[in-house]
């Protein structure tokens, strides 16, 4: 898969992306990985190495919790669930993103026409 978004641009949003997936329901590592590809319309792949590091950090910060599934075939899955403070952070991050997006839009695309307004 071609990565069409630069990693620099997305790195700071890993947490928000994971919280978005988990706010739509509990999920496990590979499931989250697939869901992110799906959400991006096959335009972006978040490496699993990044995902697992993030899970450990988010769990340490109390934004998500984990529990083992009861699959018997092919090994147990470790599921993650978003906590209340995770949901709060997600809502805050969405607002921050909307604000940043509007400012960045002006900074990147704005010209003299925009400044005159």
């Amino acid at each position: 898969m071609d990565t069409t978004i630069s990693n620099d641009l997305i790195r700071g949003h890993t947490t928000t992306i994971i919280l978005n997936v988990l706010s739509q329901g509990d999920n496990y590592g590979y499931g989250i990985y697939k869901r992110i590809i799906e959400l991006s319309g096959n335009q972006y792949e978040l490496k699993e190495a990044t995902l697992y590091t993030a899970f450990r950090r988010l769990e340490g910060e109390g934004l998500i919790v984990s529990y083992w599934g009861d699959e018997t075939q092919g090994g147990r899955r470790k599921y993650y669930r978003i906590t209340d403070s995770g949901k709060e952070l997600y809502e805050q991050s969405k607002r921050d993103w909307d604000f940043a997006k509007s400012v960045l839009d002006k900074l990147i695309k704005g010209g003299f026409d925009h400044a005159k307004e």
Partner: protein, 221 residues
């Protein structure tokens, strides 16, 4: 499990074991390995379902995992910390266990020799003289019990526990000297006098320790 899945399973397992080889085993590492293996197997199976052979499916899954070295470093650091903690805990526990055993044996030894000498018809001073073992044993037991971590209480600081042992020892010693001076001099007032001197020191020390102690009770989780 069907036979055609076993090659991927084996390769994934070997890959993950190799990745974390040399990292100290602990519960978190064990869990992480299981999590990674489950997900990686599932991914390889998906590649296989898209028409790759097993060898290729495994390779693709391994490549697409990305750079796991950060995760390995994390676990290595964690492993070192828990190993150090475990060594520390078991050392203290062993010293405490040895102390309790030695203390109980000393007390028993003292009690038995007192009884033995008494029935041998030895004079009262020699008989009670071996009671000094009970004094030493009591002090060692006090120290060892306090430095022991239990399910509900943390181990006491070693210096503080040593002072408790000393206080207990002095109190036992005051009784010991009182009895022995009573038999040696035949005068009760001298016995009470020596009892007073040592027990005042012992009680003073004990009260100080009891009143300044910090709580060792573990918080309920």
């Amino acid at each position: 499990m069907p036979k055609n899945e076993s090659l991927i399973d084996k390769k994934v397992k070997a890959y993950i074991e190799n990745l974390f080889s040399g990292v100290g085993e602990n519960q978190q590492l064990y869990d992480l390995k299981e999590e990674l293996a489950t997900n990686m197997k599932e991914k390889a199976q998906d590649y296989k379902a898209r028409g790759m052979d097993e060898e290729q499916a495994f390779k693709e899954a391994a490549i697409s995992m990305g750079d796991l070295s950060g995760l390995v470093d994390d676990m290595r650091r964690l492993g070192q910390n828990t190993a150090r903690l475990a060594v520390n805990t078991t050392m203290t526990a062993r010293i405490s266990t040895a102390g309790i055993i030695a203390g109980v044996l000393l007390v028993l030894f003292g009690a038995f020799t007192v009884a033995m000498l008494y029935y041998m018809g030895m004079d009262a001073v020699s008989t009670t003289g071996t009671g000094i073992f009970i004094v030493a044993g009591g002090a060692i037991i006090t120290y060892s019990v306090l430095t022991r971590e239990t399910r509900r209480k943390y181990a006491m600081n070693r210096i503080r526990a040593a002072f408790y042992g000393l206080a207990c020892g002095i109190l036992l010693f005051s009784i010991f000297t009182a009895v022995i001076t009573r038999f040696a001099t035949g005068e009760m007032f001298i016995a009470i006098g020596s009892l007073m001197v040592f027990s005042l020191v012992g009680v003073g020390l004990l009260l100080f320790l009891l009143l300044t102690g910090a709580g060792r009770r573990k918080r309920e989780k």
